[in-house]
Amino acid sequence: MILKTRFFGELEIEDDAVIHFKHGIPGFENVKRFVLIDSDEEGSPFKWMQGVDEPKPAFVIVDPFVIRKDYEIKLDNEVLDELEIKSPTDVSVFCIVVVPEDISKMTVNLQAPVIINCVNRKGRQLILDTDKYGVRHYILDELQRQEDKADAGADEEKGPVHNHK
């Protein structure tokens, strides 16, 4: 199938590259099919998620575990059943990025991760019932925070366990 896209020109898509979202995603309920497009840059935490159905929305997505090393989600049985997930290794998780004009202010939605079963190519955007993650985390701030934490925590992680509070 040839897919005409706004940002990526014409893409030749194999049928087995298409990921099926039974309910679409919030705001785009009619877009039931997406494809992932890798970044040219090797090792980049970013990818694109391109809608196949009209209006063919395109999203920047990012690996949330890069933004927050301790990112954590629990998949309910309902989700496991719907996506037919059998093993954690079948699952890819991405979060959607908003890229404003000033791209240093880009944000990521950690509260609504996109879950993909890579085996059967079924996907769904979850809405987490948590106040741990919000819909708008500044990516550069999060990365900076992690660096600070890594610097500060370097000693703790070595050596024997000791609690200093």
Binding site: F59, I103, L140, L143, Q146, E147
Partner: protein, 89 residues
């Protein structure tokens, strides 16, 4: 919109398999219990609306930007350290 009046502990049945119960009423707050099949997704509306809006915003941007430019000042950016010095020690 269909409007029904219910008291505490009274319910509404929708479609024979969804039950919505008024559990408690305190001033302007109402606690609601919902029994529904697992495949029915239930969200607080404002959260759902917010996610829809973020998705629309995300899709309306120019997504073909040079993201590595933004990240170049961040040590974490590349994820791959060219000099191989990954160990912080």
């Amino acid at each position: 919109m269909l409007v029904l009046t219910r008291k505490k502990d009274q319910s509404i049945i929708i479609n024979e398999n969804i039950e919505i119960t008024v559990l408690d009423i305190q001033g302007d707050q109402v606690r609601i219990g919902i029994d529904a099949p697992r495949e029915v997704s239930i969200h607080r509306k404002e959260v759902f609306v917010q996610i829809s809006e973020e998705n629309r915003k995300a899709a309306s941007a120019n997504v073909k930007v040079d993201l590595k430019e933004v990240l170049k000042n961040s040590r974490l950016a590349g994820l791959k350290k060219e000099d191989g010095s990954q160990d912080p020690k």
